[in-house]
């Protein structure tokens, strides 16, 4: 997974506050120059990881490496990482210039150099000319930009961002997301971004760590995590989803809501109990006779670019569907989906086992099996006519 020398590495890191285990055996490795996101609900331990990296907290056990060196006992002020805090934490007794110049001044850089640095950083966050403003005169978005400039003025190897956008409104958040991505690409340093907003994580990251209960549940590219969630938690946390229990009868054949469906997953025990994931945007409405499932529309709401439809099948399972056209509440409709849209999750599968299983079967084999099944079906239909 990681080919170059990691800039930051956690090995078996654990931390407890009294009785509560905040982090349980965390292993992770970050490559230089990438945008990482720690995604999870509050209390999942994601901010704790950030504080361990910055030195605000110290691990009970395990080792933290920075460029191959153990840094567990290095005090915060000596670490080459900087943090953008959630509520900005700008010094209210200093103006914008003095806030950004705080780090460079501590390094005793010459005055001219400090000024150049501050101006450069303010230009980078699009706040050129704001040097003499007081912090209290700035809007939330501007304060966050100053906080980013202040952290970057120290030339960190790794920039830590602790839910930096959560206090901003939707529009501003979108703008700053793009801008953070731009700044990261331009400076080519490692960003570690903490958020509980899965949309934000999917939009910005090169690599996501999904956290819950002090454990990394899954890590991977945004696409991997969205398309192939490892368990119920990840599937549910990353966007709207339909999860129903099922049985994997054999490779490429799953049984749920009383019917058998072809799919593209394999490597499980015959007749293993599994969970079946179908994303709302993969479901299409059709006539009841053409539907793989038949459901009754219960509710629908307009979401701007699509309709969010809630429907119920005869077994009283609820289905979320995203449709481009409106439906009629109370109508009976069919739902269709492709075999590729079905994602199977085993109970209690570890990340390693999950990855190994995905590698174990050939996708082409799956495609071929699928094709065979399709031909078979068409054959039967033809016979019927």
């Amino acid at each position: 997974m990681v080919e170059t020398q990691p800039i930051l590495e956690f090995s078996q890191v654990a931390l407890s506050f009294g009785e509560t285990e905040v982090l349980k055996q965390i292993d992770l490795a970050l490559e230089p120059g990438k945008f990482y996101t720690l995604l999870g609900p509050s209390g999942s331990g994601k901010s704790t990881i950030l504080k361990l990296i910055s030195g605000q907290l110290h691990a009970d056990s395990g080792q933290i490496f920075f460029e191959g060196q153990v840094i567990n006992d290095v005090p915060a002020e000596k670490r080459r990482v900087n943090t953008v805090f959630q509520n900005y934490s700008l010094f209210p007794n200093m103006n914008v210039f003095d806030n950004v110049a705080f780090g460079p001044r501590l390094k005793k850089l010459p005055a001219g150099e400090i000024e150049t640095k501050v101006k450069e950083m303010l230009a980078l966050v699009k706040l050129a000319g704001y040097e003499n403003r007081e912090i209290s005169e700035l809007s939330g978005g501007q304060q966050q930009r100053v906080a980013i400039a202040r952290a970057l003025a120290n030339d960190p190897e790794v920039l830590l961002l602790d839910e930096p956008l959560s206090a901003l409104d939707y529009k501003l958040r979108k703008d700053l997301q793009q801008e953070l991505r731009r700044i990261q690409k331009r400076l080519d340093i490692t960003f570690v971004f903490v958020t509980h907003d899965q949309e934000e994580a999917l939009a910005m990251s090169d690599w996501i760590f999904v956290m819950n209960d002090g454990l990394i549940q899954q890590n991977g590219t945004p696409e991997d995590i969205y398309d192939e969630p490892i368990n119920h938690f990840v599937a549910d946390f990353i966007g709207e989803t339909n999860i129903v229990p099922g049985i994997m009868k054999e490779d490429y054949l799953v049984h749920f809501v009383g019917k058998d469906f072809e799919n593209v997953d394999a490597g499980m025990r015959p007749n293993e109990r599994v969970e079946v994931v179908l994303r709302p945007e993969d479901l299409d409405l059709t006539d009841p006779e053409n539907g793989k499932l038949v459901v009754t529309i219960k509710d629908q709401s307009f979401r701007g670019d699509y309709y969010e439809i809630t429907a119920m099948d005869d077994d009283l399972n609820t289905w979320q569907v995203q449709a481009t056209n409106p439906a009629e509440v109370g109508a009976r409709v069919g739902l269709t989906f492709d075999p590729e849209d079905i994602h199977i999750m085993r109970y209690n599968e570890s990340e390693e086992a999950f990855d190994a299983r995905l590698e174990s079967y050939d996708e082409e084999e799956a495609e071929a099996a699928l094709q065979a099944a399709r031909d078979d079906e068409t054959g039967r239909e033809e016979q019927g006519q």
């Binding site: 605000q56 002020e77 934490s89 780090g103």
Partner: protein
């Protein structure tokens, strides 16, 4: 219905204001005006500016005023030097409110009892002198010296310096300390560049709370200072209760009030950028 609610509420408000206003008139405005009038009168009750003239042309009174301000300054400085680290360390503790209470609590007895305790502590055979003789030194005269006055006054005023500084430090967002360290500042640099400037409102409040009363600690000058240190407060007490020259006592009182107002103005918080 709403009209009558408003009317009734207005009636209540006027009633509250009436009672409170009566207190303001009788016990704030009237006494201060009376003090001012008294200072502008001869002993017989005629209008005069002579009292002020006497005060500002008399060497001893000016020296006493200067002395009083000088001692109040020293007391303020001593309490600040001891109170700031105390307050700072207390805010870094886990159960800070509890430990604050533990540190302040022993001083929660009447001012006179504290002063009285020092008569014992500093006396000829008191704890300090017996410790000195125990270490092989000669006993020294501690009671009725300038130093004993400073010591006891500083002791008495210390909690009034600790509390406002503690409160100001307690209000500082702990994340600002984290931010400062994150940017490369060590503890000392964080204290100097972030915490100290942000605790200034508390320091100023503490200076106000200590400096002004220190101008007028007459009981300590009497009991501990042995009348060697005469402050403005001692002079007022002397004129009112001993020599019965109320007019001149009032004059000194008015001058003390002026000194107080100047102190307040000097330590007032400039409202900078809307944040307090």
């Amino acid at each position: 219905m709403t009209m009558s609610f408003k009317k009734q509420k207005k009636g209540f408000t006027s009633f509250y204001m009436g009672i409170y206003g009566l207190w303001l008139l009788a016990f704030v405005i009237a006494p201060l005006l009376l003090l001012l009038f008294k200072s502008l009168q001869t002993q017989g009750g005629h209008f005069t500016l002579a009292n002020y003239q006497t005060f500002f042309t008399s060497g001893p009174y000016l020296a006493m005023t200067f002395n009083s301000i000088w001692y109040a300054f020293l007391i303020t400085l001593i309490t600040l030097v001891f109170a700031y680290p105390t307050a700072y360390f207390l805010t870094t503790l886990k159960n800070k409110q509890f430990w604050l209470l533990m540190v302040i609590l022993p001083t929660w007895i009447n001012l006179l009892l504290k002063t009285y305790a020092f008569i014992g502590l500093l006396g000829q055979g008191g704890l300090v002198n017996s410790s000195l003789t125990g270490l092989g030194f000669h006993p020294v005269q501690l009671l009725f010296t300038d130093w004993s006055f400073l010591l006891v006054a500083a002791y008495v005023e210390l909690p009034f310096m600790i509390l406002p500084i503690f409160n100001a430090l307690n209000e500082i967002d702990p994340l600002l300390t984290a931010a400062s360290q994150d940017l490369g500042a060590n503890n000392w640099q964080t204290l100097r560049k972030v915490i100290w400037p942000l605790s200034m409102p508390g320091v100023k409040a503490g200076i106000q709370a200590v400096f002004i009363p220190s101008l007028s600690l007459f009981m300590i000058t009497r009991l501990i200072g042995g009348n060697r240190v005469i402050t403005l407060g001692t002079a007022i007490e002397e004129h009112f209760l001993v020599t019965q020259n109320w007019a001149f006592g009032s004059t000194i009182g008015v001058i003390l009030i002026v000194a107080m107002v100047i102190t307040m103005l000097l330590t007032q918080d400039k409202q900078k950028g809307g944040r307090s």
